[in-house]
């Protein structure tokens, strides 16, 4: 078996849940998540010089994100006519989720793709704002705005969020230093 094939199988065998979970949070759909991961694996391992096994997961994750954002761009055209075709959206993916998870999934659906990507990278991947900005190829300020807007949307649907670093109001000012 060629090295790339062994590396691919080893990566999927050991990191299947992490990669599918990441793709699932982005897409909101198990079937689409599997497609995202498969497409990303193909992109990483098709070039004649595939990356070393130790670093391949990072590139697969980067490819998942890029494909997801690219898919949305194309889907915007498709969504304009899909009602004519009568395609069911994501109902089937909620069967395995408990009610609480459904709330979160529905709340994530209310976000734009970039807001959703920022939230997933921040709270699932635990990246910092500069790391997210690097992953998305945008400025730190853009990421902060996406996160701020996403927090507002999620809080509106899920109630107060406990880990979004919103300090409590300060009543009395203090001297500055």
């Amino acid at each position: 078996m060629p090295d790339w094939n062994a590396d691919l199988h080893e990566l999927v065998r050991t990191r299947h849940r992490a990669l599918i979970g990441y793709a699932y949070l982005l897409s909101g759909n198990t079937r689409e998540a599997e497609d995202l991961v498969q497409d990303a694996l193909v992109k990483v391992f098709t070039p004649r010089s595939a990356p070393a096994a130790a670093v391949s997961e990072g590139y697969v994750r980067r490819a998942i994100l890029t494909i997801y954002l690219d898919l949305y761009r194309r889907r915007r055209r498709w969504s304009g006519i899909k009602h004519l075709v009568g395609i069911a959206d994501r109902e089937e993916s909620r069967e395995s989720a408990v009610a609480d998870q459904v709330d979160v999934a529905v709340a994530l659906d209310a976000l734009t793709p970039r807001q959703r990507a920022c939230v997933v990278l921040r709270y699932f991947e635990d990246l910092t704002v500069p790391q997210i900005a690097s992953a998305l190829g945008c400025a730190d300020g853009t990421v902060k705005r996406h996160l701020f807007d996403a927090h507002a949307i999620l809080a509106d649907r899920l109630g107060p969020l406990s880990d979004t670093s919103q300090p409590s109001p300060i009543v009395n000012p203090r001297p500055l230093s």
Partner: protein, 552 residues
């Protein structure tokens, strides 16, 4: 119970994974697809003449198309395959050491652009050559019809300095970002992931381990075949102005010069003079104690200091770095233009919390980090008061509501930003070496000390902070804060020895305040004065007496 996003997302991800296909099934499917693509990868066919070249100084974001010619050295040589292949030895465009001023532009069906430096301005983007994607590039269909292209490799970045190629891409270390075949409608873009860039060998043949920090012109290039042609073309984008940092994050060259004061600029424009608020404010702003070394987002709290009830719409705050009373920092380019409703009863603890983001770059170019040191962070928040209920100062009786819209801008210093030599926000560095340590506010005011404290008064006002603002206190406060002292303001009610300074409080219960430093001993205070006065002139006075605030 507050929702924890981290836990919620991990739980949700688990449910999605539980429903997925087993790992071996996914791996087998992916491997089969890889195998199919590797077998059918086409061989690039060259053969057309007419190599297009770039002119020096070509505008950014134009697309250039170069055609392969097997009879001549490829203008874009094979990428460096570390340890596998050698670069094309013949001099040619985009090889290490080649000069870039021998190229001219050619229009083509595809343009290579990027998301970071799409403007035609002179701003320079700071990039890190250590990350997987240093410049987010995309291909754009420049024709009026759908277009299909195929590609086998990632795009690459070439860095040019003083007209010479000094860094080239290394293939094989990033995943292929584009599928084998892409169809774009007119004007549509396809995002790309580029290969890592490596420095060219120096004169001695040694390849640097990292790209030297500095300013460069960046070019992107990708090889594609546009249907129905079978000939591969190289699509080039750039030049894009970029700056790289040292591996430790420092930036090369001398620290950036801060902008000069511009009397024609208005706050928060670059170079504008800050006019500190004076007297009793209607709406005060505070940011708590944000640690700006952890992030640039800041929550700003506004509260009503007037007697009147105020209601309306508030814009998100604008935050900007100020030095010596001059706006020197850039504004957040992505600040929200939306508004939020507010209702703030007079002299009530109800507050309005909104968020803003502080930029750490010099406002003259929006790219260069602010030099090391401390900066005052000023916030400006526009309020449209749509309903105001006036209340009498005598008996606090509410009058008739006033519904004529009224514009009010709250402007106030809300935080401090410390920048380090690497151009990064830093935590408070502590007291400047050599200056005597003071007593913190809590210790000084606790009132149970057995020995009297010594207070060095640097500037005084008949108005009492924080309800009132006196612009005359700002310079002394800034100088003190620059040295690293934390407690800077002290009310006269907190030390009885003001008579020694000839200060009479303006009224009982409101004694005025000043900028002051509290020391445990007279010796420490004298040491402070000896250092301060040569720099900033004489102090107002030094008073040794117990410090204990009377709030009666």
């Amino acid at each position: 119970m507050n929702r924890n996003l981290h836990d919620a997302l991990h739980s949700l991800a688990g449910s999605g994974t539980d429903a997925a296909s087993p790992p071996d099934v996914l791996a087998d499917r992916a491997a089969a697809a890889v195998e199919r693509r590797r077998r059918r990868r086409p061989v690039l066919v060259a053969g057309l003449a007419g190599i297009g070249v770039l002119t020096a100084g070509a505008a950014a974001a134009l697309g250039y198309t170069l055609l392969h010619d097997d009879a001549a050295p490829h203008p874009f040589p094979d990428r460096l395959y570390p340890g596998v292949e050698s670069p094309v030895p013949e001099p040619a465009a985009f090889t290490c050491g080649a000069r870039m001023d021998a190229l001219t532009a050619v229009d083509g069906p595809l343009a290579l652009g990027n998301e970071m430096v799409d403007s035609d301005g002179d701003s320079r983007v700071t990039i890190s050559t250590e990350t997987g994607t240093i410049i987010s590039m995309y291909l754009r269909n420049t024709t009026a019809d759908p277009l299909t292209y195929s590609t086998q490799e990632n795009p690459g970045i070439y860095l040019v300095q003083d007209g010479v190629v000094v860094a080239v891409p290394a293939v094989g270390e990033a995943p292929a970002s584009a599928p084998a075949q892409v169809t774009l409608t007119a004007g549509e873009i396809q995002p790309l992931l580029e290969d890592r860039v490596v420095a060219c060998p120096d004169a001695g043949g040694t390849t640097p381990t990292s790209i030297p920090a500095g300013d460069y012109d960046a070019y992107g290039a990708i090889t594609v075949t546009v249907e129905p042609a079978t000939t591969a073309i190289d699509v080039v984008g750039g030049p894009w102005k970029v700056r790289t940092t040292n591996p430790d994050g420092t930036v090369s060259g001398a620290p950036a010069a801060l902008p000069q004061a511009n009397p024609d600029a208005t706050f928060p424009q670059c170079g504008a003079l800050v006019n500190p608020p004076a007297g009793r404010l209607r709406v005060a702003l505070s940011a708590g104690f944000p640690d700006l070394s952890l992030g640039s987002s800041m929550s700003v709290t506004a509260w009503n200091l007037s007697l009147d009830d105020l209601a309306g719409e508030a814009a998100h705050p604008t935050l900007v770095a100020v030095k010596d009373g001059v706006v020197v920092g850039s504004l957040d380019p992505d600040r929200s233009s939306g508004t939020v409703p507010f209702s703030l009863p007079g002299l009530d603890s109800t507050t309005l919390v909104t968020a803003g983001s502080l930029e750490h770059t010099v406002c003259t170019d929006g790219v260069t980090p602010l030099p090391a040191g401390r900066y005052s962070v000023w916030a400006a928040q526009d309020l449209t008061i749509t309903t105001r209920v006036p209340r009498s100062e005598m008996d606090y009786v509410a009058g008739d509501p006033i519904t004529t819209p009224e514009a009010y801008t709250a402007v106030e210093e809300v935080a401090a930003l410390w920048m380090d030599a690497k151009g990064q926000p830093a935590a408070h560095p502590g007291l400047t070496e050599g200056w005597p340590a003071d007593l913190d506010e809590a210790t000084a005011i606790r009132g149970d000390n057995t020995e009297p404290e010594t207070v060095v008064w640097l500037a005084i006002s008949t108005m009492e902070y924080p309800l009132y603002r006196d612009p005359g206190l700002v310079p002394a406060r800034d100088h003190l804060a620059d040295l690293g002292y934390v407690t800077t303001d002290l009310a006269f009610r907190c030390q009885d020895g003001l008579a020694a300074l000839g200060i009479v409080p303006n009224s009982p219960g409101s004694s005025g305040s000043g900028v002051a430093v509290v020391f445990a001993t007279r010796a420490a205070a004298d040491a402070f004065v000896a250092l301060w006065e040569p720099l900033h002139g004489p102090v107002v006075g030094v008073v040794t007496d117990f410090v204990g605030c009377d709030f009666s």
